[in-house]
Subunit: 403 residues, 2 copies
Amino acid sequence: MAAARRTSRDIRSESRLVLMRALLAAGESTRNGLAEETGLSLATVSTIVGDLLKYDIAAETGLLTGGIGRPTTGLRLNADRGRVVGVYVEDRYLEATVFDAALGRLATVEATADEPVEEADDLIDWIGSAIDAALERAQANRDEVLGVGILLPGGMQRPVKAAAVLPNAIWLHLDRLRDRLGLPVVVDNPLKAIATSELWLGAGRRSANVVAVSLGYGVGAGIIQDGAVVRGATNASGEWGHSLLAFEGRRCQCGREGCVEAYVGIPGILQTLTETAPDHPLAASTACFAFLDALAAAAEAGDPAAIATIERSAHHLGAALTDLVAVLNPEVIALTGWNVGPVTRERLMSTVRQRVRDDAPGDAAADLAIEFSEQCGMDGIAAIALERFMRDIGLVTTRVPAL
Amino acid sequence: MAAARRTSRDIRSESRLVLMRALLAAGESTRNGLAEETGLSLATVSTIVGDLLKYDIAAETGLLTGGIGRPTTGLRLNADRGRVVGVYVEDRYLEATVFDAALGRLATVEATADEPVEEADDLIDWIGSAIDAALERAQANRDEVLGVGILLPGGMQRPVKAAAVLPNAIWLHLDRLRDRLGLPVVVDNPLKAIATSELWLGAGRRSANVVAVSLGYGVGAGIIQDGAVVRGATNASGEWGHSLLAFEGRRCQCGREGCVEAYVGIPGILQTLTETAPDHPLAASTACFAFLDALAAAAEAGDPAAIATIERSAHHLGAALTDLVAVLNPEVIALTGWNVGPVTRERLMSTVRQRVRDDAPGDAAADLAIEFSEQCGMDGIAAIALERFMRDIGLVTTRVPAL
């Protein structure tokens, strides 16, 4: 990519998204309220509101007479402008969720398969059927659909080395998927989706510098800097899970040695337990969220090996989060995943916060908030599909995924 | 900091800097040429050029008659608009360089002290005298000085924990320094300065996503994303040197265990030699650039321990750079420092590049260039002082350091 060339058209486009997000956050607002909230001039706000009204993306809600001064016209996002659909797919599990145009959830359909679905044609059919079922459940017509967003691990541009069968089956057959769906499709990876979710619906509403950290089987980070999602040169930013915790350390599933994920991902936590207490009953577990729940329960019941494993994992996580603080200096780290109970969460977080405070360089963590977040990739991919629709109608020029 | 609120004024401001940088890169250009180069509309370019001409920041160079079509008016930055001064200061070494307003170097004064200069009054006098001497050498009057930029390690907002005496002596007495100099002063840290140098003069001219890596006694990174310097919430971003190479590894001078700097900084390389060959003659060296030169010379003469140390250090550096690739996915990593000869550099870089290629997640490093750069913090702090001058006269609103 050449050096960024931001034109006045890009700026208008950016301002439109800023205003849409402000309107979504407010629920209902006015031109004056939006100008105050966004820092844009009233003239700019009025122009943008005009664009959004023209395309039915916003709607007027009648005169607001509360407070002092003349009554002013209320504004909101037009939830009924259309529908967007988010899709999450694994080889045996699929979820399709229908949202309205104000990112409200209308209906979800989940599907499971006994055998991994790996053939491209089968996958495409599976996705298509789930979308059809979700639209039916949401009582939505296909012609109302503004866009479909698909969460897909891996690079945007090309299949990645050592990738699982599934993402490649979709990457390689994206045209067939588009033909089957007959709808505008955008594909983006979960890290960009959680960052976008934070930007539209979460910590990004109040802070310009946020790192959204996803903790699960794998781990990664979505980055917001100066109010925009950081994508990097090839949309591959945020692979914090494959940055280093320990030089020449544990072998990671990606092939590298010592990755953060090999310690902080669920299989890594299981390995920490195995190293701590090889004969522990949970050491024979399969690495999945149920293992994490069982480990938390054991720790809460006073099991020393479980407590030691959680404590050690908290040190691993704290050290790895400190790296994000050192390099990116965010205001907020928003953690998602690890839906363990409040007792375990508190045990974890007191160690994590202490470790970050102790280890972060200089005053980089002085005003940092580390918090759990309710944001998720599904909401984020819906917001990306909405951004992509804005681009399709010519209101947005700035970088949204090209695929 | 609240969520970024970019107004149309900010956008004009940003466009002005984009255009100034394009004009600097071109040397001489035209309104049409600048429109083509920046992607800004001809109308926008003409407006901005009008602003720059009005404030004498740009100048017309007469009619250009080469090529086809009507002759057009040439434009260049007005180098004689004024002078900016960059200052680098350590406790026994000080450098002041005078630049013209097109960032051309005019004169440099260096000063050394036998004893560390630690008292605030002494430091302030030392800096003031060096600036006076440099201005005299550049035949510049004080009233021509648009701004002074001071490179200073540590946080922007407040003294950092475990900081050396010197930066704190300046941080705590910045008002007295301003009074003594009687000139507009901006202070910024070396990481932001090397990023700004790459943006104005280096890889940032052709790439929107660049990481400028500074290798020396300490190490760090200046980050450019989407054509702008990433500062983070408290201007503390880029402390890659204090991100983790090895969990519970070597003690770093910052107090943390296992920092990149503890392996890749010059004292870290010396420690690697000491661990490899405790009885090696160079193991008794002081950790400084002369040690690195001697190590390189020994390796080039075939000394196995020196070769092993360089090889091991290349693995450390490659692993640590891979983390930047994983998290930030840049197009270019521009390395500064380590001014070792071409043989050692080639030995280093082949290992570094191989390691990054092998370890980077997915295709994040597929199009990555890792190269040595001639940019330096001194040029960067001069550019920051120039940006700050643009702010002082009201042409720039976007974030430049506040101090």
